[in-house]
C-alpha cells in the first residue's frame, strides 16, 4: 500500500488543516469530494436559472423578455453548465467520497492529482461563464458547437474552447484516479466481482471518459484552428467537411451520454437492494449489462445524425445498433424490478428517488427506442420530442440518482440525519413538477415544434405554458434540496454507523462510524 503514505502529509494527524488551506491544498478524498459536490450544486442552480429564463420566455408566444440572440446563449450555456458543471462533477464528487470507502482504501490513489482535477473546474467555469459579458455574447450555437455556426461566435469562441479543454483535462485526471484506485487499492479479499456496483459503474465510466474526452478536445481544437489559423477541417469552401465535425463530436457525445448515466445505474443498484432488504438480483448480469452499454455507446453515434443525409447502409447499421442498447438497458430495469420482487420495501428519501429514477428513466428509454427508428426519427429529430427524451433520462434519470445518492450517504458524510419530511416533500414536488415540465414536450415535438426556438406559433401555446409552470415549480422545489443539505450539515439527529439500521445497507462504508473519520481504512479491512 505504497500510496497510503501519500495521503498523510508530514504527520499522521487526524485533523484537517484549518481555514482556506484545508480546501485549497486538499488531498483528502472526502474534502475533495465535498468540494466537487458543492461546486456541482452551485452549477445546478446557475444552469437552472438559465433554464428558468428559457422557460419564462417560452411561457407564451411573442418575445417578452429576451432577444433571440440571448435566448440562444441561454440554451447553449444551460446545456454546457448542466452537463460539464452539474452532472459530471456531482458523479466525480460521489466517486471521490464513496469509492475509497467502498473498496476499503485510505484515499484516492493520486491525491495531488485529485486536488488539481477539482481546482481546474472553478477556473474553467469562470472562463465559460464570463463569456456572457464579452463582445458578441456567450456561445449561442448550441452545446454541440456545430460549424459553420460555431465559427460565427464572437470573442466567446476561444474562451469556450479553452474552457472545454480545461474540463476535459479535469475529467481525464478524475477518471485516471478512479481507475488506479479501483484496480490497485481494493481491500484484501475484495475481488473485482465482489466490488459494489457503484464502483463497477464508475470503473467503466472512467474508461469511457479517457476514451472520448480527447476526441472532444481534438474536435474543438480543429474548430479553433479553422477559426484562427486558416485551416479548413470543417470549411466546405476550403475542401473541408462540416459533417465531419458532427461525426467526431458524436463519437464523443454518445459515450458522454452514458458517462452521465452509468454511475447513476451504480447508485440505483446500491439503493434499491438496501431498501428492499434483499440482495441485488443478477449482480453479475448487471455488470455485463453496464459493460455492453459502454461498448455499444461507441458504435451508435450516427443516430444523432439521421436527418443529416446518410448512406443507406449507415442508417441501417446505426438504427440496429441503437435498438440493441434497449436489450442491456432492459436487463437492468428488469433486474431492479426483480430485486424489489418478494422484498420488503420501505420508502425513505433515497428509495423514493431511486423509484422515481426507475419509472421516469424508463420513460426516457421508451422515447429513446422510438428515436432509434430512422423513419420516425426524421420527424422527431431536432424537435421538442428530443428535448423531452433527453431531459427524461438526464433529470429524473441522472439528476434524481444524484439526489438519491446524496440522501443515501449524506448521514454518513455529516454524521447527522437530515429532515426526512423535508426530503420527502422535495421528492414529491420534484417528481410532480418534472413530469409537468417535460411530459408535454413530447406532445409539442410531435405536433411540430422545433427545439431551440425563442418564440413559436400560437398552436403550441398551451403545452408550452404547462411546461413552463412545471419548470418554475421544479426549479423552486430544488431550494428544499439545498435547505435539507444545509440543515443536515449544521446538525440534527445523530446517525449510526449503519445509518439505515432498519434496512440492509451492504458495503464497507457502513462499517465505519458516521461521520466518516477524516482518515478511514488506514489499515485495510479484510473482506471475506
Amino acid at each position: 500500500m505504497a500510496h497510503a503514505t501519500d495521503t498523510a502529509h508530514d504527520a499522521h494527524d487526524d485533523q484537517p488543516a484549518t481555514g482556506i488551506k484545508r480546501w485549497l491544498f486538499a488531498t483528502n478524498h472526502k474534502d475533495i469530494g465535498t468540494m466537487y459536490l458543492v461546486f456541482s450544486l452551485i452549477m445546478f442552480f446557475v444552469g437552472g436559472t438559465m433554464a428558468m429564463i428559457i422557460r419564462a420566455e417560452l411561457f407564451e408566444p411573442g418575445l417578452q423578455l429576451v432577444d433571440p440572440g440571448f435566448f440562444n446563449e441561454m440554451t447553449t450555456m444551460h446545456a454546457l453548465v448542466m452537463i460539464f458543471g452539474a452532472v459530471m462533477p456531482a458523479f466525480v464528487g460521489l466517486a471521490n467520497w464513496m469509492i475509497p470507502l467502498q473498496v476499503g482504501a485510505p484515499d484516492m490513489a493520486l491525491p495531488r492529482m485529485n486536488n488539481f482535477s477539482f481546482w481546474i473546474l472553478p477556473f474553467a467555469f469562470t472562463l465559460l461563464l464570463s463569456t456572457l459579458f464579452v463582445p458578441g455574447g456567450a456561445p449561442a450555437g448550441g452545446w454541440t458547437m456545430y460549424p459553420p455556426l460555431a465559427l460565427q461566435f464572437g470573442d466567446s469562441f476561444p474562451m469556450l474552447i479553452f474552457a472545454i479543454h480545461l474540463m476535459g483535462v479535469s475529467s481525464i485526471m478524475g477518471a485516471i484516479n478512479v481507475i488506479v484506485t479501483i484496480l490497485n487499492m481494493r481491500a484484501p479479499g475484495m475481488s473485482l466481482l465482489k466490488m459494489p456496483l457503484f464502483c463497477w459503474s464508475w470503473l467503466i465510466t472512467a474508461y469511457l471518459l479517457i476514451a472520448v474526452m480527447p476526441v472532444l478536445a481534438g474536435a474543438v481544437t480543429m474548430l479553433l484552428t479553422d477559426h484562427f489559423f486558416g485551416t479548413s477541417f470543417f470549411n466546405a469552401a476550403g475542401g473541408g467537411d462540416p459533417l465531419m465535425f458532427e461525426h467526431i463530436f458524436w463519437f464523443f457525445g454518445h459515450p458522454e451520454v452514458y458517462i452521465m448515466i452509468l454511475p447513476a445505474f451504480g447508485v440505483i443498484s446500491e439503493i434499491i437492494p438496501t431498501f428492499s432488504r434483499k440482495p441485488l438480483f443478477g449482480a453479475s448480469s448487471m455488470i455485463y449489462a453496464i459493460a455492453s452499454i459502454a461498448f455499444l455507446s461507441f458504435i451508435v453515434w450516427g443516430h444523432h445524425m439521421f436527418a443529416d443525409g446518410m448512406p443507406l447502409a449507415a442508417q441501417m447499421f446505426f438504427m440496429m445498433s441503437t435498438m440493441l442498447i434497449a436489450v442491456p438497458t432492459g436487463v437492468k430495469v428488469f433486474n431492479w424490478t426483480a430485486t424489489m420482487w418478494r422484498g420488503s420495501l420501505s420508502f425513505e428519501p433515497p428509495m423514493l428517488f431511486a423509484l422515481g429514477f426507475l419509472f421516469m428513466f424508463t420513460i426516457g428509454g421508451f422515447s429513446g427506442l422510438m428515436l432509434a427508428l430512422v423513419p420516425a426519427d426524421f420527424q422527431y429529430n431536432q424537435s421538442y420530442f428530443v428535448v423531452a427524451h433527453f431531459h427524461y433520462v438526464l433529470v429524473p434519470g441522472a439528476v434524481f440518482s444524484i439526489m438519491g445518492a446524496v440522501y443515501y450517504w449524506l448521514p454518513k458524510w455529516t454524521g447527522n440525519m437530515y429532515n426526512m419530511k423535508l426530503a420527502k416533500t422535495h421528492f414529491w414536488l420534484s417528481t410532480i413538477f418534472v413530469n409537468v415540465l417535460f411530459f408535454p414536450q413530447h406532445f409539442l415535438g410531435l405536433a411540430g415544434m422545433p427545439r431551440r426556438i425563442p418564440d413559436y406559433a400560437v398552436q403550441f401555446t398551451d403545452w408550452n405554458m404547462v411546461s413552463s409552470i412545471g419548470a418554475f415549480g421544479f426549479g423552486l422545489s430544488q431550494i428544499l434540496f439545498a435547505i435539507a443539505i444545509i440543515q443536515c450539515v449544521r446538525g440534527g439527529q445523530k446517525a449510526t454507523a449503519k445509518v439505515w439500521s432498519d434496512a440492509t445497507p451492504t458495503g464497507l462504508e457502513w462499517t465505519i462510524p458516521s461521520p466518516a473519520p477524516y482518515h478511514s481504512f488506514t489499515t485495510a479491512p479484510e473482506v471475506h
Binding site: L63, G141, F281, V331, L345, F378, A447
Partner: protein, 324 residues
C-alpha cells in the same frame, strides 16, 4: 384557387384536453378510419400528423407501431413495479426472500424476448427507409438553399428559370420583435407564414435538392413526414409526393439551430393540382419574361407585397427587398 378549401385544410383543429390514452386512441382510430376530413391532415396538437404524402403515412405508421409497443411494454413493466410496491411493503410486514438473487432462466428470457420485439420493429422500419431513400424517377426537382435566415427555391425540369426567396411574412416579423406590443394571436399564422411560398404539384414525385449557403439548416414540414439538413458543400435529397386530393397550404420551420433568427425562417408550401401548378408555372415564366424585357427597378416594399408574383420571378442573385 379554391380559397375555402385551402382554409379548411389549413385551420388547426381545436385542441382536445382529454386524458392521454384517449388522445392516443383517438389518433390511432383516426388512422384506421382512413380518408377522414381534410383537417385530419395536420397534427391534432399532441401527436404526429398523419401527413399528406406517401412517405408521411409510412412514417406515421412506424411511429404508431413503436408507440404502441412502448405503451404495451410500459403497462407490463410499470404494472409489475407497482404491484411490487404495493404488495411487498415493509410496513405491511413483508418478509424479504433473500435467496432470490439470480435465475439464469428468467434472465435469458428477458434478454431474448426484447431482441425478438426489436427485430419485429426493425423490419418495417428498414423497409420504410428503403422507400424514403429512393429519390429516383422524380418528375420535378427543386433546389432549396438555406440562408441565414431565409430559403431560396430554384425550380428545375419543366419549371426551370423560376427562382425566388422565401422569408418570414412582414406582419409576423413585426409582431415578433421584442416588446412589439402586437398580440401574436392576432397575426394570421404567426411565425408560420412567408412572403412567397414554395409551390408544388400534387400527385407527382417532387425531389428537393438541399444545400446551404452559410450554416447548417434543416427543412421540415411535419405534414410531409420528413426533415433533412441543408449543409454547405453538400447536396442532400428528399422526395415528396403529396397524395392527390390533399392540395392545400402546409407549414413548417427550419429545424436546425442556425443562429439568431433560427426561429424565424418558416416554410410554407402551396400544393396545387397538376393543372393549377402548370398554370402557375406559365404565369411565373410570363412574368419572368416581362421582367427581363423591362428591367426597370422594382417598386417599393409595398408594391412588392401587392404583387408577389413579380418578386417571385426575380432572378436569383438579385438582392431582396428590405424586410418590413
Amino acid at each position: 384557387m379554391n380559397v375555402n378549401r385551402l382554409t379548411a385544410i389549413d385551420d388547426k383543429p381545436a385542441r382536445s384536453r382529454g386524458p392521454y390514452f384517449a388522445m392516443i386512441a383517438s389518433a390511432v382510430f383516426g388512422v384506421i378510419g382512413a380518408a377522414g376530413s381534410a383537417s385530419a391532415n395536420t397534427s391534432n396538437g399532441y401527436n404526429l400528423p398523419r401527413g399528406v404524402t406517401v412517405l408521411s403515412r409510412d412514417i406515421y405508421q412506424v411511429h404508431m407501431m413503436v408507440l404502441w409497443v412502448c405503451i404495451a411494454i410500459a403497462v407490463l413493466v410499470f404494472g409489475t413495479m407497482i404491484y411490487a410496491l404495493v404488495k411487498f411493503r415493509h410496513s405491511q410486514g413483508a418478509i424479504p426472500d433473500t435467496t432470490m438473487v439470480h435465475s439464469t432462466k428468467v434472465e435469458i428470457i428477458w434478454t431474448i424476448v426484447p431482441v425478438l420485439i426489436l427485430i419485429a420493429m426493425a423490419v418495417p422500419a428498414a423497409l420504410s427507409i428503403l422507400k424514403i431513400e429512393d429519390t429516383r424517377n422524380s418528375d420535378l426537382s427543386i433546389r432549396v438553399t438555406g440562408y441565414q435566415w431565409k430559403w431560396q427555391y430554384q425550380y428545375m425540369d419543366a419549371a426551370t428559370g423560376i427562382s425566388f426567396f422565401s422569408t418570414l411574412s412582414a406582419d409576423s416579423n413585426f409582431a415578433r420583435q421584442l416588446h412589439s406590443g402586437v398580440d401574436p394571436k392576432s397575426v394570421p399564422h404567426y411565425l408560420l407564414s412567408v412572403d412567397h411560398p414554395l409551390v408544388i404539384p400534387s400527385g407527382v414525385k417532387v425531389r428537393l435538392l438541399l444545400t446551404s449557403a452559410d450554416v447548417i439548416h434543416a427543412w421540415w414540414v411535419p405534414d410531409f413526414g420528413m426533415k433533412r439538413d441543408l449543409i454547405p458543400g453538400f447536396i442532400n435529397e428528399m422526395w415528396i409526393k403529396v397524395l392527390p386530393g390533399k392540395e392545400g397550404v402546409y407549414r413548417g420551420q427550419c429545424a436546425a439551430l442556425c443562429g439568431r433568427d433560427h426561429g424565424f425562417m418558416p416554410i410554407v408550401v402551396d400544393v396545387k393540382t397538376p393543372a393549377d401548378f402548370k398554370k402557375w408555372v406559365e404565369d411565373q415564366k410570363a412574368a419572368l419574361k416581362q421582367a427581363q424585357a423591362a428591367p426597370a427597378a422594382q417598386g417599393s416594399p409595398s408594391t412588392a407585397a401587392a404583387a408577389p408574383k413579380q418578386i417571385a420571378a426575380r432572378q436569383p442573385g438579385l438582392p431582396l427587398t428590405a424586410k418590413l
